[in-house]
């Protein structure tokens, strides 16, 4: 009977065998395809993905989560190296130069258009943004990921659509029509902002390649492992990216991107709110108002409680002081007691003040 355990080494060895076979096929191929392009049929990815799917059926979620991350990192790593010509038998020098040139070309295309074809390695900054954006969309996954920012910067269709969306609404459904027109405009604005951001990342990518070439040229010791090369690549990218994201230019593009996304989501929320209102259901802005009022009441309640406790403390202090002075009066002559009354009152108020400042209020423990 075949071993059904997905953690079995047999499964893994089979995946290995597939990987080796595929690797061998690659080795026999000439380097015809552009090495910088994302290879959807990458044998490494295929073999690992197949195995991952088997494991995912049996492993507990925390383990598969971590494993997914490890595999994703591994896939990115090996794709990056394969993209650079890490295929057995390749002429590294020629391949490296050709790869870097093709990357350079991809990065310098309009609005980062060519970046879609680059390996996962270069997609990490954009991927990070896409994940943030997907958090803010109501549908599963990232609907906005379907946008093609490069289109926003190219051609006249955007302008034409924008003009179309600007046609004044008329008639009975005028308000509703205007709302959806505005929503359409905001989608276009977001697409444009995403295009600008993509272009910004493209410029950073281009600078990364140039810096990497420079650093390779200046090296005294050769790099003898894929991992060492990958680490150098990461260091270079982080260095360039770290400089670029501190510029005012980047801050403006990033700010515009966030604002465009929020404006789009806010408009969508308003449309939903109005639909809820027609059904006599509570809308978000009404809940917000209630929350604010409730919080204000809680603040007032706390303030009153503190005042009450302070008054209580003062009362207690006054009572204690009064009791003390009564006891004192019994032991001194009546004329002395009479003459000290004023100063006693004075002392009391000063003492009460001190007591109130020094004694902390009583939170509910």
């Amino acid at each position: 009977m075949a071993d059904q355990n997905p953690f079995s080494p047999d499964q893994w060895l089979e995946a290995q065998r597939q990987y080796w076979d595929a690797w061998g096929r690659l080795a026999r191929q000439t380097l015809g395809a552009s090495p910088g392009t994302d290879q959807g049929t990458d044998p490494w990815t295929q073999a690992l993905e197949q195995w991952r799917q088997t494991v995912a059926q049996a492993a507990p979620p925390p383990v598969t989560d971590v494993y997914d991350k490890l595999l994703a990192a591994g896939q990115t790593y090996f794709k990056a190296l394969q993209g650079l010509g890490g295929t057995p038998g390749a002429d590294w020098g020629e391949t490296l130069n050709r790869t870097l040139e093709s990357m350079q070309a991809a990065f310098t295309q309009d609005a980062g258009k060519g970046m879609r074809g680059l390996t996962d390695f270069w997609q990490l900054p954009m991927d990070t943004w896409q994940r943030m954006a997907s958090l803010l969309t109501p549908t599963p996954g990232d609907t906005l990921r379907g946008l093609h920012p490069e289109r926003a910067a190219a051609g006249h269709w955007r302008e034409q659509l924008s003009q179309f969306l600007s046609i004044p609404a008329v008639g009975y459904s005028r308000e509703s029509q205007e709302q959806f027109q505005r929503l359409g405009q905001l989608v276009l604005d977001y697409e444009k902002a995403l295009g600008d951001y993509n272009a910004q990342l493209g410029r950073i990518g281009s600078e990364c390649v140039q810096r990497l070439q420079k650093q390779l040229g200046e090296r005294e010791e050769p790099i003898t492992s894929g991992r060492a090369f990958y680490d150098l690549w990461v260091d270079t990218c982080e260095e360039v990216y770290g400089e670029a994201v501190l510029t005012d230019d980047y801050a403006r593009v990033y700010g515009h991107l966030v604002n465009a996304l929020m404006a789009l989501k806010y408009r969508g929320m308003q449309i939903v709110d109005e639909a809820l209102a027609t059904m006599n259901m509570p809308a978000q802005r009404e809940i917000d108002t209630l929350q604010e009022r409730l919080q204000e009441l809680r603040r007032q309640n706390q303030t009153l409680r503190c005042s009450l406790e302070e008054l209580q403390d003062r009362m207690e202090a006054l009572e204690a002081e009064g009791h003390k002075s009564q006891t004192g009066q019994a032991s001194v002559s009546s004329h002395q007691a009479s003459s000290s009354k004023g100063s006693s009152t004075k002392r009391r108020s000063s003492s009460a003040k001190q007591s109130s400042a020094s004694k902390p209020s009583k939170p509910k423990e």
């Binding site: 953690f7 080494p9 893994w12 990987y19 690797w23 492993a59 383990v63 971590v66 991350k69 490890l70 994703a72 990192a73 591994g74 190296l81 890490g86 057995p88 390749a90 590294w92 020098g93 490296l96 390695f121 990070t128 943030m132 958090l135 803010l136 390779l216 050769p222 003898t224 492992s225 894929g226 991992r227 090369f229 990958y230 990461v234 982080e238 990216y241 770290g242 994201v245 501190l246 980047y250 801050a251 990033y254 700010g255 966030v258 604002n259 929020m262 404006a263 989501k265 806010y266 917000d288 929350q291 409730l294 919080q295 603040r299 400042a357 020094s358 209020s361 009583k362 939170p363 423990e365």
Partner: protein
């Protein structure tokens, strides 16, 4: 010389080694069990809404500094980073240094908390926690230890309630939010925070996670996991890694109003050092921070660079200002081996000296 000299057989061997580590590592991952954090015994002494004030159990054989220390952690991420694991616990180090340690856990705000503002956090929750301590210890002021954003809160609190703070310690605390090397400060510059909070209500913790990852996307989203593959055969190291991973992604949502006020007032307006921040209708004037201050910062901090924290010296009103420079990063300052040896003992000594001076 051609800079790349990777032989094909070496490249293949690397791939095979990677696969092997990954396959064997899965076994370790499966057996790793629950990832535990927060190791030092503690008791909850006060609760309010989602906030819990804890007191850590002190070793019986230690001579205690009579003045308690209240750790004020940031709203971002969870405070168990202060007590991550047995051999990496700042709290444990402080207890060993003879301190009586309390900590505020702000909890996880939900949508009902979106109207909580900085006034509620600083003049409300924090002030009431300080009062709890003062009542317990029958005395006046307490020691505050503010961490990161919690340090900024502590500074505001100390300026507004100077009579309740005996000594102030700030760790990796931003003060100047617009230094040229502060990426976070740069990124929020043109963000319309009003629109953002009006749109999302509470700011999702995940959004902050991704923002932090975007500071170093290649290293934090890619390379870090390759490094992990190298340690997969060591269960202890894997556990340490996963513990840290758990903390990184365990980010509470941010109460909308507090986030709005913090980003606008502190980051965009840089109001703390300009003396323009107002909390609960009162201006925060750092010159009113007249108690002794120990400012601890990390030299390689990419979230709160030294340039963001060191200007504190020029703005506080105290004549007793001390700096401790730590060789490490924003996370290393809590959990690295070097930190355990350096940071808590320094805090203990610094507080000890000031407690004795006051007593004599």
């Amino acid at each position: 010389m051609f800079p790349l000299q990777i032989r094909p057989d070496q490249a293949v061997q690397e791939a095979v080694d990677f696969n092997r580590k990954l396959a064997h590592g899965l076994e370790n991952l499966r057996d790793i069990g629950e990832i535990e954090t927060g190791v030092t015994p503690k008791e909850a002494i006060y609760r309010e809404d989602k906030l819990v004030l804890y007191r850590f159990q002190s070793p019986r054989d230690k001579v205690q500094n009579p003045i308690p220390v209240l750790i004020v952690y940031a709203l971002v991420n969870r405070p168990y980073m202060m007590d991550l694991q047995e051999n990496r616990s700042l709290v444990q180090g402080l207890l060993d240094a003879g301190l009586d340690v309390y900590l505020i856990d702000w909890g996880y705000p939900d949508r009902a908390d979106r109207s909580l503002g900085l006034d509620d956090y600083i003049n409300g929750y924090l002030d009431r926690c300080v009062d709890v301590l003062r009542r317990r210890h029958h005395m006046q002021p307490v020691n505050l230890l503010g961490v990161c954003q919690g340090g900024t809160f502590s500074l505001c609190y100390a300026a507004l309630h100077a009579d309740k703070v005996r000594n102030l310690i700030t760790m990796v605390t931003p003060v100047d939010f617009q230094t040229p090397d502060n990426a976070l400060g740069q990124w929020v510059r043109y963000v319309d925070v009003d629109q953002m909070v009006d749109t999302v209500g509470n700011v999702p913790g995940e959004l902050l996670n991704w923002t932090f990852l975007a500071l170093k996307p290649w290293r934090l989203v890619g390379q870090k996991y390759l490094d992990m593959v190298d340690i997969l055969d060591d269960p202890d190291k894997v556990k340490n890694f996963l513990r840290m991973e758990k903390w990184i992604f365990d980010s509470p949502d941010q109460a909308g109003e507090a986030f709005r006020e913090f980003i606008k007032g502190f980051y965009q307006a840089n109001g703390l050092i300009k003396g323009e921040v107002e909390i609960g209708g009162q201006r925060v004037d750092l010159a009113k921070v007249t108690m002794p201050v120990l400012n601890i910062f990390a030299e390689q901090d990419h979230l709160v660079p030294p340039s963001a924290t060191r200007p504190l010296e020029g703005h506080v009103g105290t004549s007793d200002y001390t700096e401790l420079s730590f060789k490490g990063g924003h996370i290393g300052i809590y959990v690295s081996g070097r930190s355990q040896k350096q940071v808590p003992p320094t805090i203990g000594e610094w507080l000890g000296t000031r407690t004795q001076e006051k007593a004599s």
